[in-house]
């Protein structure tokens, strides 16, 4: 009796801890991207960035179901995946600014953050470009018997790329531990996905015998529960899965995409922000469940905000690589 009570208490405790961890991570992504936008508008950041704001529940829900040694591949809209997999914001900001302290010594930038320590095989600026890499990582895991799982994040725009179907076929044939996570944020750059995507998205997985499910990508608990199930399944050797996460991109295709009314309405954006916001809705649930009160959540937000501010300051102050670095690491 006593043991059972203790264990259920422990479980509840672990669950609450996980809930708060997910809330913190989602907040980190939101505030990270806020800083990125700020850096861009202050003209402190070279190049462009593609913000993940609005989609936080997907990256966090999925990565919470992974072990640190599991692999992910990410996309041009990849900051959220990196943070969710455990990357450190100061080194991410440094990378965005092209500084030597960045994850790629400044050579990758916003679209190429990679980090072996957190199993991040790299963000990829070719749409669908990492499908082969993620599936190959799953092949390694299976061949070497490591028990690792690979998650391939991609946007619904990648559904137009043939290589995705080639590797899904292979993953199904060879029962590889890989999960294809399709983040449908409704817009393929500046075009609604319905104009680019024929048929049923889940059928693109099931056609190959890949287990396919869809989930509300604004609900981190639902994403995490489904991801946990698919990850467990893959780890047990039951093969690949395709997870369609229905979500929304709050901002433009990139930070400079300000006037969007030619492809979507302000009302639509407003509706998602007020009614479907993944962080606000999760916060309301946390308070309702008495896992934490509003003051506690505000305190977390304040902490994260301070952390992001410090991380940006670190990156701004960090030195650029010296030019003799330019031809280093072309070859290993």
């Amino acid at each position: 009796m006593t043991i059972a009570t203790d264990s259920s208490k422990t479980n509840a405790g672990a669950k609450a801890e996980q809930t708060i961890r997910m809330y913190r991570r989602m907040t980190m992504i939101r505030l990270f991207e806020e800083q990125v936008n700020e850096l861009y508008t202050r003209a402190l950041m070279p190049g462009l960035a593609h913000l993940y704001v609005g989609e936080e529940a997907v990256a966090v829900g999925i990565c919470e179901a992974l072990q640190p040694s599991d692999y992910i591949t990410s996309t041009h809209r990849g900051h959220g995946h990196c943070v969710a997999k455990g990357a450190s914001p100061d080194r991410m900001f440094a990378e965005l600014l092209g500084k030597e302290a960045g994850y790629c010594r400044g050579k990758g930038g916003s679209m190429h953050i990679a980090d072996p320590a957190t199993g991040n095989l790299g963000a990829n600026a070719i749409v669908g470009g990492s499908a082969g890499i993620a599936t190959g990582a799953a092949l390694s895991a299976k061949r070497l018997g490591t028990g690792q799982v690979a998650v391939c994040f991609f946007g619904e725009g990648a559904l137009g790329q043939g290589v995705l179907y080639e590797v899904m076929n292979l993953a199904a044939l060879w029962k590889l531990p890989v999960i294809y996570v399709c983040e449908n944020n409704l817009y393929t750059e500046y075009t609604h996905y319905s104009e680019t995507t024929a048929g049923d998205i889940l059928a693109r997985g099931t056609a190959f015998g890949v287990h396919a499910e869809s989930v509300d990508g604004q609900d981190v608990r639902a994403v995490n529960a489904t991801a946990q199930k698919l990850v467990d399944r893959a780890r047990k050797g039951e093969g690949p899965a395709f997870l369609l996460c229905n979500t929304y991109r709050y901002t433009g295709h990139h930070v400079g995409d300000i006037n969007r009314e030619y492809y979507r309405s302000k009302q639509e954006e407003q509706m998602w922000k007020t009614e479907r916001d993944p962080i606000k809705n999760f916060a309301a649930w946390i308070i309702e469940q008495k896992i934490a009160d509003a003051a506690k959540l505000q305190a977390i937000e304040n902490e994260v905000r301070a952390e992001m501010k410090a991380a940006v300051e670190f990156a701004i102050a960090a030195p650029y690589p010296t030019t003799d670095e330019v031809d280093q690491d072309v070859y290993a």
């Binding site: 692999y71 591949t73 960045g102 994850y103 790629c104 010594r105 400044g106 050579k107 990758g108 190429h112 990679a114 980090d115 072996p116 095989l121 790299g122 990829n124 070719i126 470009g129 990492s130 499908a131 082969g132 890499i133 993620a134 599936t135 190959g136 990582a137 799953a138 092949l139 390694s140 895991a141 061949r143 070497l144 490591t146 690979a150 043939g162 290589v163 080639e166 590797v167 076929n169 292979l170 044939l173 280093q328 690491d329 072309v330 070859y331 290993a332």
Partner: protein
């Protein structure tokens, strides 16, 4: 010194032996591609490997070059050492994003943190009556890309030693085999030996003209050198063996010595390997040259099917001989 019996192997056997030895040495080495297992590829280069190493390591894939090449990149990053088989070099076009945007750039883009120790084996070469989509020599495309290494063996000995080096390299290596050379025989030691990349080999020493040649064009150059000898011209034949890294010094030193140079390669001449090597020689040996560097490559046409048409598209012993004769003022 007692005579050591020299064992002869075909080019294909040398490739197979290199793979088998590396697979015995390192359990991470695996092969995947179309019909690589029981079929041993249409060229029968891999026959017997699946029997020794099993279907877990010699893996038949669907006809999905982009897909399984991309998987090779991911597998190489995460602990395997894949040797990806692309049956015809023409199909490299299907792998280009994986090779150019992924394999070649992963190490650099990640600030040196991830590595891609992968080999892509493929073929080149015309005159097999295979027409325009199975006869191209596209090695210049890959040689153009920073992050890749490109290997072009011309003998069974070089094939074995260079392939072993390729498999042990920490970078993506593209390994081109001329499909017309698979039956070429030559001495191959049984020992474990490797040949370093970026070291040219002087296949024949000479005084009057330097002929730089790659892959099966080395055999053509050697044939031309025989003909040249008969008219009193001594040709030096040099095989760079890797187009990248390129042993510029050996090429330049030879051209300085002979004062005349030509470059023979089966890729297209325009914007190709011959142009690159000719410019290296021109820049490095300009004041020692008696004449502009002569280039010979595939004719600038899609490779035709009809035998008499196909045969005129690539350099031969005779055409190289004629060109060398003119270059040396013996015409």
């Amino acid at each position: 010194m007692p005579e050591v019996a020299t064992r002869e192997l075909t080019f294909a056997q040398a490739i197979r032996e290199a793979l088998a030895e590396e697979m015995r040495r390192d359990s991470r080495v695996c092969i995947f591609g179309e019909d690589v297992a029981e079929a041993g590829t249409p060229f029968k280069v891999l026959s017997g490997l699946v029997e020794e190493f099993g279907a877990e390591r010699v893996i038949d894939t669907p006809i999905s070059e982009a897909g399984f090449t991309g998987m090779g990149v991911g597998a190489a990053m995460t602990g395997l050492r894949p040797v990806v088989d692309i049956m015809f070099g023409d199909f490299l076009t299907l792998t280009m994003d994986q090779m150019v945007n992924q394999a070649a750039k992963v190490h650099y883009m990640s600030g040196g943190t991830w590595k891609v120790p992968m080999v892509l084996r493929t073929t080149l070469g015309a005159t097999r009556r295979s027409a325009a989509q199975h006869s191209q020599s596209l090695h210049a495309w890959l040689s153009h890309v920073p992050g890749l290494k490109v290997v072009m063996p011309s003998t069974p000995y070089d094939a074995k030693g260079l392939l072993k080096t390729a498999i042990r390299d920490e970078n993506p290596v593209v390994f081109f085999e001329d499909k017309m050379m698979y039956k070429l025989k030559g001495p191959v030691p049984e020992d474990d030996y490797t040949i370093p990349f970026g070291v040219a080999d002087v296949k024949r020493e000479g005084e009057d003209v330097t002929i730089v040649a790659t892959s099966s064009m080395v055999q053509v150059a050697l044939g031309a050198a025989e003909l040249l000898e008969k008219i009193g011209v001594s040709a030096e034949v040099i095989d760079p063996r890797t187009t990248w890294p390129l042993d510029e010094r050996t090429l330049i030193e030879s051209a300085k010595k002979t004062s005349r140079a030509m470059v023979i390669d089966e890729g297209y001449g325009r914007y190709g390997v011959t142009g690159e090597i000719a410019s290296v020689i021109a820049e490095g040996a300009f004041y020692n040259l008696e004449a502009p560097v002569k280039r010979m490559g595939a004719m600038h046409v899609p490779i035709p099917f009809s035998p008499p048409l196909e045969d005129v598209t690539v350099p031969t012993d005779q055409t190289v001989f004629e060109a060398a004769r003119v270059l040396c003022g013996k015409a």
